[in-house]
Symmetry: C2
Subunit: 454 residues, 2 copies
């Protein structure tokens, strides 16, 4: 699955051509998101750790090389080049957890052209996915105002890697944890687990199901009460509690997974309170998203936590964004494409961020790396000559994301549709775009096309 | 990534409880999709091959077991059980490529309860994803009326497995191939590759870029012509063709990736025809979906093929469906849940399909496996006692899908929104649901809730 052949065939075709014609000078590619839809006022950078693992570890195995040779598509010179292929370049990137906006480079790769070219497909695959999930998770975190949020979405995520990385991306954005067991083992993310309806169904009596589970799994005990009749099940929980208390077992929570969750939660709260279980909290799940969570909390639903599945791990309202990895400089000369609707800003760039006195983000400036601009530069060196410079731990990344969410302007924190954050294009960049256009379009002189308008 | 720990923690919690209380009798779970949205009149089953690989191969490794032991969550009895864990049960399933509808079981697992329970999370993860992609691909195939379709979507797919499996699921549904190199190596799927904009940008002159590429990659040559000015680039292609012809190189196609693709294709077609390149076809890509493809073809756009990326590999308009794996029978007794809006039909079931004289699908009947019903049964035995019975090759699966698409009623083939296929619930099933309800809800007698209405 993580074979070096997990790439678009055209990367190998281009590499062959670059080698044939000696086009191996240094190239810089930048990865960015072209436009943000109305329901994504900001994005959260995520996946850099896995992207750097990929850059550092990528090798063409003997099997890969053998298969490529047998395919008859490539020359011996390319096969020899691939046999020795190691990433030898530099990477600058925004730290994971950073809030960012359209057209801002999240990552820049600078390396000999065939090398930098090769990495396009999988770098987008890694960074696009984790960033859309972290961004969706951040919206859920803002909507849940401090209530417990748990990722329940492995089953509907798009494959194994998506499920696992969604657990990571949501945790770094502020989720309390996940149901995905492997995420604790690999990343140290707290895991949560209750019971399924099948567990209750397998017993002839719902009360017996609850008691069996409580005796076997007494820690952080949560009982699922909506298999047949939610209120009747809540009564069974009340009846069971004294017997469990004798054994030193407390019913930490009940979970409701269907019906009108806010209404059910209020009714169940009354039953639990009347039954002396004021300390037993209510956890809900089932088709949740940030709008439903905000609405339930605004209506005073007595809910302590939310399990969020499909809408989180597929970012179901925005399952993909226009994320690209484009050549910005080759052999010391700035480049850009001018394709209709897809023009890019040329050159190696930096994003400078400005903050108000209270720490709130006021606006960004996009310019060239050597443009002397005030503000906090967002891209940092993370690899030099193929070696990593630092390896932040997940708790630090989580703290970075929390700081970034706290610094968002209020309209973005309130998830207002269309809340627009100012990103200014510096004069130096506009001048360079005009210069590049004169160079690459000698027959049709024109004003530099602003990629934001074209 | 394919660790046995890639599962919801609650599966392990339930397994512990089942073992503690001797609840290890035979259970049958069925996997089905609850409802179809208006833009999915039918679904195509896919992913069974990977699901059976998973069932057959799953082992808890020594590392997994060690980690579980150190977590302190589980008893020695569970750890010993997991150390010996092998799938020993039976599986019945619809062959991949079968068209199916809401509430119809796609797969049934029958095995001792803790075993059958364990597999829930990843079976959904595998079958839900590939089925939504095959279903999206089938829509694209119907819209493209025989034109070439190629999967370009690895970069925006949700991780590595999603990208690779999307190549497989789209090929089985009728795509010609994919850009994902690894898909040829692993599945024998034809691969396609052209060039990226970065390739053109890296050259000072677009014409030189074209010529270099043609000399290095002469087979199935496709040139990307929209980096700067599409019509000007088409003229360069015309100018280059005679020089290449001398070398025995034909320009098979040009690719346009931006702008109004139908308009651009018409203009480029005129330029190519006037330049003596009537045999050079036009291939387009960039934000395509089935609606855009159908509209371009309806408008007579001279387009021979389509590269489809994001909308395919994320099924972007329907990135997830309500796919569930539910207990239907335990210890010989039928079971069902009655949760509001999520009630299920109990018992082990079969789907019988009826065809008209011309082979068109007329309707399905959902009933119990031993109900003597006319029609073609869709679920077949695929594993017995943990062993696979057959292993269809991908070309057979592709033929099955093609037969199924050809047999769809016209409203579904035309992708009409709301086209509804009749699925009848047999009397035997309705009677059994009523009987199960009497058993599990003794205090509240009621008419059996129809899951389609609740």
């Amino acid at each position: 699955m993580t074979s070096a052949l997990l790439t678009d065939l055209y990367q190998l075709n281009m590499m062959q051509t670059y080698l044939d014609h000696g086009e191996t000078q240094r190239a810089s590619f930048e990865l960015f998101f072209r436009t943000l839809p109305p329901r994504r006022g900001f994005l959260i950078a995520a996946g850099l750790e896995q992207a750097l693992d990929f850059l550092e570890d990528l090798r063409f195995s003997a099997d890969d090389l053998d298969w490529l040779a047998r395919s008859g598509r490539f020359s011996r010179s390319l096969l020899d080049y691939l046999a020795a292929f190691r990433f030898s370049g530099d990477v600058d990137a925004m730290p994971e957890g950073t809030a960012f906006f359209a057209d801002e480079p999240v990552l820049r790769v600078s390396a000999p052209l065939p090398e930098a070219q090769y990495f396009e497909t999988r770098l987008i695959n890694i960074l696009h996915f984790q960033s859309i999930i972290a961004s969706k998770a951040a919206r859920l975190v803002l909507a849940a105002s401090g209530k417990l949020l748990v990722d329940f979405g492995l089953r509907r995520a798009h494959g194994a890697e998506a499920g696992l990385w969604a657990a990571r991306a949501s945790y770094l954005a502020g989720f309390a944890g996940t149901a995905t067991t492997l995420a604790e083992r690999l990343y140290g993310i707290p895991i949560y687990g209750t019971m399924a309806h099948s567990f209750v169904q397998a017993h002839d009596d719902e009360g017996v199901a609850f008691e069996n589970f409580a005796r076997s799994r007494p820690r952080n005990l949560t009982l699922l009460i909506d298999t047949y009749d939610t209120e009747a099940a809540a009564q069974k929980v009340v009846a069971l509690a004294p017997r469990l208390r004798v054994l030193g077992i407390e019913i930490g929570a009940v979970r409701i997974d269907s019906g009108d969750l806010a209404v059910q939660a209020k009714r169940v709260r009354r039953i639990l309170d009347a039954g002396g279980l004021a300390g037993t909290t209510i956890f809900v799940s089932g088709g949740l998203d940030e709008d439903k969570i905000r609405s339930m909390l605004a209506n005073g639903a007595p809910i302590a936590g939310f399990g969020v599945g499909t809408s989180l791990t597929t970012s179901s309202d925005v399952p993909a964004l226009d994320c690209a990895y484009k050549l910005q400089e080759y052999a010391g000369v700035a480049r850009r494409k001018r394709s209709a609707g897809k023009a890019t800003w040329p050159g190696r760039k930096q994003v400078w961020r400005h903050f108000g006195a209270d720490g709130t983000m006021h606006g960004d400036v996009l310019s060239l790396i050597d443009d002397p601009i005030a503000g906090t530069p967002l891209l940092e060196p993370v690899m030099r000559d193929g070696r990593r410079l630092a390896r932040p731990i997940l708790s630090e990344i989580r703290a970075t994301a929390a700081r970034n969410l706290a610094a968002l302007p209020e309209p973005l924190r309130r998830l207002e549709v269309g809340g627009r954050y100012p990103v200014q294009i510096a004069d130096a960049l506009i001048r360079l775009a005009a210069e590049v256009d004169r160079h690459t379009a000698p027959k049709r002189m024109r004003e530099p096309a602003d990629p934001r308008r074209s």
